[in-house]
Amino acid sequence: MLDTLLLSRIQFAANISFHILFPTITIALGWVLLYFRIRYNRSGESRWMEAYGFWVKIFALSFAMGVVSGITMSFQFGTNWPGFMEIVGNIAGPLLAYEIMTAFFLEAVFLGIMLFGFSRVPRWLHTGATFLVAFGTTMSTFWIIVLNSWMHTPQGFEMIDGVAHATDWWAIIFNPSMPYRFFHMLLASFLTVSFLIAGVSAFRWLIGGRTKGVRVALRTSLFMAALLIPVQIFVGDLHGLNTKEYQPAKVAAMEGIWETERGAPLLLFALPDEEARENHYEVGIPGLASFILTHEWDGEVKGLNEFVAEDGTALHPRVAPVFWSFRVMVGTGMLMLLISWAGAVMMLRKRADGTGRRGVDGMPKVFLFGLVGMTFSGWLATLAGWYTTEIGRQPWLVQGVMTTKEAVADVPAPMVLSSLIAYLAVYAILLGAYIGVIFYLARRASNGQSIEPRLPQSEDAQVRALPAE
């Protein structure tokens, strides 16, 4: 039966999964827009402004989705998880407060100027507003990742009468997993945006919108992906090692290892069985898990059976969801590596007559369709990654300090069920509308509507020549 705890967890998961989709786009897209803006400022080439003009619309839409779904998050603490703030509020509170004060207002105010101020403010102020919006989204990432990392690797506090009190803010902010998580998330955002831009640009190209702006967006995004994916794999590996040190139970669940062993295999497939405490249908590469986690072929990896209390209750997360989310994330990452490198190679190939590079003209149709298929691959990998780390922390809410169960509010289950259904319905509709509108905007831009950039004639951008839309 669905009880309040499980329903509240599902509701929180639904809210935060829906929410994270949009910051994942806006964090990196803000910087990409700034890049387009600066390239235009320097070169005066309209293709950069065309790319800016198209992607700023998607940015605005994503930002609005992120803001409104984020407001929901700040209420969830009180409506469903009051225990969280009662026990660790002295730590979480200031971190959240700093996020609101140093990030939310910055983004929200300068977004208005960035979106609607192009012809009202001088060029430097518009570029500056674009920078501050991008900076704001990154600051917001920083603070929320600090809090989240602290929940995984808490330090710098003492418990007095069951309530956490801060003793060392430096230790709290720079807790052991924070740097890995922060860069892992930033890179995830950049990869998500790379594949979003590549996918939508490929789509525009395929339906005939072969403008210079589309070319430049496709090229930028493919190179960005090809450069960043190896970095992400490297950072991900470091993050894994960090997790092994601080949350060995999570790593055991990720790898599906029940008994502590040396030379543990990397399981490509397995059906973890919680009851029997073993895997069925294992397919694995011998020794590889040990090699990845300890960088030695016969290194020791702790198994899940080490994390069972004397009375038999499991002190590790449910294995199957963690095991599978981890595989989905890694699998998507490998696909990203393959596709972005293939794309980069094709981009760089020379023309037969030696007149420069072939670029997108040299790409087979099937590859472009592949890019369209990968449009939202970043979302998949990001969500799978978050599920791995968050489900992997269970049954703890703050590792070793408080369990999820201790935080839940005493709201009647039917009440939570009703609100959950309402949220899910709204989210499903909005997600459909969001994806639909992105491709609608792409089609409209490709049909020649609102694609001609309106270029400022005078340098201060106050007096404008506006060709008809």
Binding site: S74, E86, F116, Y440
Partner: protein, 336 residues
């Protein structure tokens, strides 16, 4: 021993003040843009775009004040945050869904295919209405002490309607300032109609509050407090009379004083709100938990306060910059 006295005394007070100011700024700023949303169905298609143009660059930052207010409550008074929000579970969910609908409708109504524009316009109105009604409901229930009895719910339903009409009033006064010609005339008309909501809303809360608890009654109706407090209702009544008089004659020649109704409405709200704050102090959960009992540890509050002292002036500064850049009559919203 302490430089500024006992921090367990003054820190909660300072944070209650900060939270109070955030809520006030929120109800004024998001009040006007929610109000514009509530008035949406009364306008024709072209006017709808002009109405959106008056709030487009601001709404997002306006809503951030709600996040700040609720965030301050969360971080400074965690027990109260839990107590209040679990008591108000249902209206909070309705408000959040309303906020989601109207927030995304801003974007979708101009970006989705034209055939869907009407749908998103409806979503914008519905979302604004849900948000306003649920906030009014929460206000009423809060005043009554957060108990779900029949009488309290009935009272909360009344305040839901009054606050919604009140928001539409302040929205109309904002439009008088930002719109012109026929739409401005309409806004004047709407403001004349909406002022009722304000009078009834402020009246209902002011009359009900003292009778909820003897403590609040004594705060208002004992000597000599009564003398000090007398200007509050008197000035409010005068302001309402003056607004009434002005709205009969607006718009003035050359569109002079078009900002006056908005400023007057803001003053009125501030005073009503100040009266409420006076009534409930020192309680944050009415008659149950005081701000001193609910406050977080002083060392945590202190580190937030240090940041606030630096950041808040900057926030105020660039918010003013934004209102200054988009000053004057609203122009068509475009990205280029």
């Amino acid at each position: 021993m302490y430089t500024f006295g006992d921090p367990t005394q003054w820190l909660p007070f300072v944070f209650a003040g900060l939270m109070g100011v955030s809520i006030l700024v929120y109800v004024i700023l998001d009040g006007f843009d929610l109000g514009v949303g509530v008035l949406f169905p009364l306008a024709n298609e072209e006017e709808k775009d002009a109405m959106i143009a008056t709030i487009g660059p601001f709404w997002d930052a306006n809503e951030t004040w709600l996040v700040l207010a609720i965030g301050l409550m969360l971080v400074a008074f965690p027990t109260a945050h839990g107590e209040i929000l679990t008591a108000l579970y249902a209206p909070v969910v309705i408000m959040l869904i309303g906020l989601i609908l109207r927030g995304v409708a801003f974007e979708f109504r101009v970006k989705a295919p034209a055939a869907y524009k009407r749908l998103w316009n409806n979503a914008f109105f519905t979302g604004s209405l849900m948000t306003s009604l649920s906030q009014g409901f929460m206000l009423g229930l809060y005043v009554m002490g957060l108990d779900w009895t029949l009488g309290h719910v009935a009272f909360a339903m009344l305040t839901a309607v009054f606050l919604t009409v009140g928001y539409s009033f302040i929205g109309a006064t904002w439009m008088i300032h930002k719109n012109s010609d026929a739409l401005q005339l309409k806004a004047v008309k709407w403001a004349r109609g909406g002022i009722w909501g304000l009078i009834l809303g402020v009246g209902a809360v002011s009359l009900a509050t003292p009778f909820v608890s003897a403590r609040i009654f004594d705060k208002w109706f004992s000597f000599p407090q009564m003398l000090w407090l007398a200007p509050l209702p008197i000035v409010s009544a005068l302001l309402i009379g003056w607004l009434w008089y002005m709205l009969r004659r607006m718009p003035f020649r050359h569109d002079r004083w078009n900002w006056l109704p908005f400023v007057a409405a803001t003053l009125l709200w501030t005073m009503a709100y100040g009266g409420m704050a006076y009534s409930f102090y020192p309680y944050v959960v009415p008659e149950k938990i005081t701000i001193y009992e609910a406050a977080s540890a002083p060392e945590s509050l202190f580190i937030i306060l240090v940041g606030t002292l630096f950041v808040l002036p900057a926030i105020v500064g660039y918010t003013l910059l934004s209102y200054w850049i988009f000053r004057g009559k609203a122009r068509e919203l475009r990205y280029d």
